[in-house]
Every structure is written in structure tokens, then in C-alpha cells.
């Protein structure tokens, strides 16, 4: 039998310290649900491309688990799965966009493994959870050998290397907000990556819009946010927020059109939900 994965060393550290040490070695990567990592490794093996040599299984780390309320917001461990997000009562009330994004991700068996951290670490135009976290203005808690770092999820997604050596996403912090919603549009009704996804969030001060599928990473649509606040043309603003590609899947024009329609719908959905509370 030919194994589908390339050979690697497997480590299962018992503590965060051990994990960070292990991740310092060249070719070491964190391994949680594996729904992106293992697929990538299999492809690299088929293509005879270089692969990481050490998988560091972080699933034991308590620092990265759990969903707790904190200061009106939430701390969500990086190991929390999409399935858990979809079922959690706190997430449902305080970060509805995240629950909706998690429910729309992949398929049931994959949702039991796909983690918040994983979605933040795999570069993709349209990670559902990543898009929601962007609108929620989440903060990413990162463990490094030098201590904890906190940065806006937007900065984390902007970094050119998604998985820097010896940095581990431990959690995301969701600040308090009034409400949020998420909408996904894909090439089929289930079990697909989004063609375009939109997440919106309202606080007492502002409305935030995040778009997936219009760039190489999910992006905040700041021009659109201003347009919504000041009543300017949404389509024009969105065209300034992103230049989506044209490819076999869809044209740039259609992606922008979807972004506009889905943004309106997402807001309408949010406003209806907030009225019903």
C-alpha cells in the first residue's frame, strides 16, 4: 500500500511550552483537525513537492480549548471545531455570524474536525469562519516563545506567512456587539467553498462588513461600510474595496454583483434578527 501522506514525525506535546519548543524546529507545523493540512500534504506528495517533516498535534492544549464569556465578549479556543461553534449557545447569541459560518462550512464529518485556528491559518480567499471573524473584529491570541501576542484578525490574515515558526494561535476574542449575520453563496447548496461570502456586524458605533471570495484572503469592506453609514452607492464602494478575479468559476463582475446583493441580504437578515429579539 502506498500511504497517501508523506512520512513525517508525529509529536503530541503535553503542554504549550513543549508545543512551542517543538514548533521551533524547521519543517514543524501545528496539527489540529487536519482538514486543510492533510489535504495539502497529500497533494504535495502526489506532486513530489517538499513537505513539512514534523506534525505537532496540539489537540491536548487546554489553553486553546473552550468557549467562555468574558467582559461582554467571548474567548473561543483555537481548537473549537465548526461543529461546536454551530451548537454553542453563547456563540449563537453573541456571535451569530460565527455560528452561521460554522454551520455553512464543508459537511458534518468535516465540521467535527475543522477548527477555528485551522481556518485562520490556511490561506484561502473564502474561509467561512475567517470571514465571520473579520466582521466580528475578533482579536487573535497568539502564543510565541517570548509570550502572548494579541493582534486584530485582519492583521493576522494579512501576514504573508500564515504559519510562522513557533507561533501558535490559541484563541480568538470576540468583542461585544449588537448583532451579526453571515451569508454564503457557492456553486452548490452544500459542501463547497464559498464563491462569495459576506459577514456583517453591528455595534452601537458602526456597521462592519467582511467579504470572502473577492481577494486572496477575506477582507474588510471599509468603503462599503462608509457607504452604508452615509447612504452612498454600495456597488461603487465595493468596487473600491476589492478587485475580484475573473476565472473559470465566475467573472469579476459577477463576484462584485454577488458581494453587493449578499451584503444587502446579510444586513437585512441581521436587522430582522435584531428586531425579533
Amino acid at each position: 500500500m502506498a500511504a497517501s501522506l508523506p512520512p513525517f514525525t508525529y509529536l503530541a506535546p503535553a503542554s504549550l511550552g513543549e508545543a512551542l519548543d517543538a514548533l521551533q524546529a524547521p519543517g514543524a507545523v501545528p496539527f489540529a483537525g487536519g482538514t486543510d493540512l492533510l489535504v495539502r500534504l497529500k497533494r504535495e506528495r502526489r506532486e513530489a513537492a517538499a513537505s513539512p517533516s514534523t506534525l505537532v498535534d496540539i489537540k491536548c492544549l487546554t489553553e486553546a480549548q473552550g468557549i467562555v464569556a468574558s467582559d461582554g465578549g467571548l474567548r473561543i479556543g483555537a481548537l473549537v471545531t465548526a461543529a461546536q461553534l454551530a451548537e454553542d449557545a453563547l456563540v449563537a447569541t453573541q456571535a451569530a455570524a460565527l455560528a452561521e459560518a460554522a454551520r455553512a462550512t464543508a459537511a458534518p464529518a468535516l465540521r467535527r474536525r475543522a477548527t477555528v485556528g485551522g481556518n485562520l491559518c490556511t490561506p484561502h480567499p473564502a474561509g467561512d469562519v475567517a470571514t465571520a471573524l473579520l466582521a466580528l473584529d475578533a482579536e487573535v491570541e497568539v502564543a510565541t516563545p517570548a509570550g502572548r501576542e494579541y493582534m486584530p484578525v485582519e492583521s493576522w490574515l494579512d501576514r504573508s506567512t500564515m504559519v510562522a515558526p513557533a507561533r501558535l494561535v490559541l484563541a480568538v476574542w470576540i468583542p461585544p456587539l449588537s448583532g451579526s449575520a453571515f451569508v454564503k453563496f457557492g456553486p452548490r447548496e452544500a459542501f463547497c467553498r464559498a464563491l462569495v461570502a459576506v459577514a456583517v456586524a453591528r455595534t452601537t458605533q458602526e456597521v462592519r462588513v467582511a467579504l470572502g471570495g473577492v481577494a486572496s484572503r477575506p477582507v474588510r469592506a471599509r468603503h462599503a461600510e462608509k457607504a452604508l453609514a452615509y447612504g452612498a452607492t454600495l456597488a461603487e464602494a465595493l468596487a473600491r474595496d476589492c478587485s475580484p478575479p475573473s476565472d473559470e468559476q465566475a467573472s469579476s463582475h459577477y463576484r462584485l454583483l454577488l458581494a453587493e446583493t449578499l451584503t444587502r441580504r446579510c444586513l437585512a437578515s441581521l436587522d430582522a434578527a435584531m428586531r425579533n429579539r
Binding site: 500500500m1 501522506l5 512520512p7 508525529y10 487536519g34 498535534d57 459537511a107
Partner: protein, 151 residues
Amino acid sequence: MQAVSITVSVNRHEYRLSVPPWWTAAEVLRNMLALPGTKIGCEIGECGACTVLVDGEPLLGCLLLAPEMDGHHILTIEGLAESGLTPLQQAFLDEAAFQCGFCTPGMILAAMAIPANADERAIREALAGNLCRCTGYASIVRAVQAISRSA
């Protein structure tokens, strides 16, 4: 590259295995334990044919690493019924909820997680990750509903 030792219960038998850590659970089941009922349809989590029950939950065997099997209870299609057929397997027979049968093991195991009396929408969503090219899914939904009715 070291092999890892795992202790895993598969179909109610306990096994002590020494496996390369880069083997997937599906590969262990098929190639070490001679349980070919778990099918490989795509290898990358896009078809659901390799679904197995891990501590009662449907997971994809192609994306689970061998070391992760340690300490868990795994049921494959071969071990689903302790004897004879489970009501769900019988329902699949009665409704002819299969044709070529390749997706069938994964489909049955995924269906094990569907709560009784789930409505049709919920049934279809629970099976969204299990592709079938032959049946059009209608007979599969009927088989699951037949169980719900009789439960």
C-alpha cells in the same frame, strides 16, 4: 521516522498496533486490519465514502491519522451490527437505498448520527458530505425516514 504504538478498539476488538504515524485511519483499517468495508473514494475528504464511527461520531477515515485512533472506539461498516443487520441496514435493503454500493458503508455510518424523527431537510443536510452518484438520494432518505418512523 518512528512508528507509534496505539491501542484501539475496532469493531469491539482491542488491537495493539505499531503504525507509521502518517498512515490514515482508513489505511490502517483497510491494510492492517483487513477491513476493506471502509472505502476510499477521493482521499481528500470530498466524498464521505471513508466515513467511520469514532466513539459513535461519524468522521472521515482518510483525514484521521493513525496515532489519533489511540484510545478510541471505532466502528466500521463490518462491525456496525453485532450480529445480523441493524435496523438501518435492513431499511437500506428494503428501500433499495443503494445501487453500486460504493458510497453505502459511509452513507450508513453517517446516517447513524441522524436523530430520530429528523425532518427531511435535516436528513439531507446530515448526509451532505456523502456523495452518491447512483440513487439520487431519494431512496436513502426514505430508508432513514423508515427508521425514524419505527423508532
